[in-house]
C-alpha cells in the first residue's frame, strides 16, 4: 500500500479569484510579512500497487483525468513510502 499526495493548482497566468481575495484580506489585516499567497486543492490517496512506480502512474492518471483541468490547472504527485497496515 502506498500513500499518494496530489496537489492541484492553477497554472501561472491563470488568475485564481480566491488568491486575489486572500491577498486583499491580508493587506487589510496589515500582515506586511506575507509577500504572496497561492491556494491549491490537496488530495490523499491510498493505493494498492506492486511498486512505487505503478502507484505513481495510477495517481498521475487520476490527477490528469479527474482531479484537474489541463487548460487551467497543473498538478504535482508525491508518493510516500509503503504504509504498513497493522493487523
Amino acid at each position: 500500500m502506498f500513500l499518494a499526495k496530489i496537489i492541484v493548482k492553477f497554472k501561472k497566468g491563470v488568475k485564481n479569484p480566491e488568491e486575489k481575495t486572500l491577498e486583499t484580506l491580508i493587506s487589510r489585516l496589515e500582515i506586511q510579512e506575507i509577500e504572496s499567497i497561492s491556494c491549491a486543492k490537496f488530495y490523499e490517496l491510498k493505493i494498492n500497487a506492486e511498486n512505487k512506480f505503478e502507484a505513481e502512474k495510477i495517481a498521475n492518471d487520476l490527477a490528469q483525468k479527474v482531479l484537474s483541468n489541463p487548460i487551467i490547472e497543473e498538478f504535482e504527485v508525491t508518493i510516500e513510502e509503503e504504509i504498513c497496515e497493522l493487523p
Binding site: V14, K15, P17, V66, I71, I72
Partner: protein, 205 residues
C-alpha cells in the same frame, strides 16, 4: 425537427428548456445522460443546473457520462447552457474553461449581450462563468460577448460558437427569456439562429 434535453442528476433547468424548444417548434424529448442512442435528434441541449452537485468542479463528473462521451460522433447541433457549457468545455468539445467569477460570488441577474450586431438581454445565474482560454481562439469559433462584463470573463466572453462542429456554449440562459411572462424574450433569437443552421443543414441533405 427533434430536440433532446439531456438530464443529469442535479440538472434543474430542463423544464424551461423543454418548454422553450416546444414553443420554437421542436418536437422535444427528455434524454437521460446514460442514453447513447440519440443520433436521430437534430438538436441536443445540455441544460443548466448543478450536474453531480458541481463536485470537484462544474461539469467534471458529467464529462464521463456515456452520452457526453458519445457526443463527439453526433452530427446535429449541440447547445450547452450554463452547466451545459461547463460540461462541453470539461469534455473538450469546446475550447477553454470556466473558472469561478472574479468576485467569487454567485451572480443571478439579466445580462446585456452583443450577438451578431444585435443587443440582447438574457438572464445569467452562475458561480463558475468566468471564461478563460490560452492565446487566441481559432477563427471558426465565434463569440457572444457581454457589453457589461459581470464575472471577469476573458474578452467579455459570454458564449462561444464552434461554427464548424455546430456546438454552442452559453453562460446566459436563453430558455429564461422566451415567454412574455419571463420579462425578456431575447432568448428566442438564440434558438432562431440554431433553427437557421439546422434548416440549412436539412436543405443540403
Amino acid at each position: 425537427m427533434r430536440a433532446a434535453v439531456v438530464v443529469f442528476p442535479g440538472t434543474n433547468c430542463e423544464k424551461e428548456t423543454f418548454d422553450a424548444c416546444n414553443f420554437l417548434g421542436f418536437e422535444t424529448h427528455f434524454v437521460w445522460h446514460e442514453e447513447t442512442h440519440f443520433h436521430t435528434f437534430d438538436l441536443i441541449i445540455i441544460p443548466g443546473g448543478f450536474s453531480y452537485g458541481d463536485h470537484i468542479s462544474s461539469g467534471r463528473v458529467a464529462k464521463f457520462s456515456p452520452l457526453i462521451e458519445q457526443l463527439k460522433k453526433f452530427d446535429g447541433f449541440i447547445l450547452g447552457i450554463c452547466n451545459g457549457f461547463q460540461i462541453l468545455c470539461e469534455a473538450g468539445l469546446l475550447p477553454g474553461a470556466l473558472i469561478a467569477n472574479d468576485k467569487i460570488k454567485f451572480i443571478s441577474k439579466p445580462a446585456k449581450l452583443r450577438f451578431k450586431r444585435k443587443h440582447l438581454t438574457i438572464p445569467i445565474a452562475h458561480y463558475q462563468g468566468n471564461y478563460y482560454y490560452e492565446g487566441k481562439l481559432p477563427s471558426h469559433i465565434k463569440t457572444i460577448k457581454y457589453t457589461d462584463n459581470p464575472n471577469g470573463s476573458k474578452d467579455d466572453i459570454a458564449g462561444i460558437w464552434d461554427t464548424k462542429k455546430n456546438i454552442l456554449g452559453l453562460m446566459p440562459h436563453p430558455e429564461r427569456a422566451i415567454f412574455e411572462e419571463q420579462n425578456f424574450t431575447d432568448g428566442r433569437v438564440i434558438f432562431e439562429e440554431i433553427i437557421k443552421v439546422l434548416e440549412c443543414r436539412q436543405s443540403q441533405n
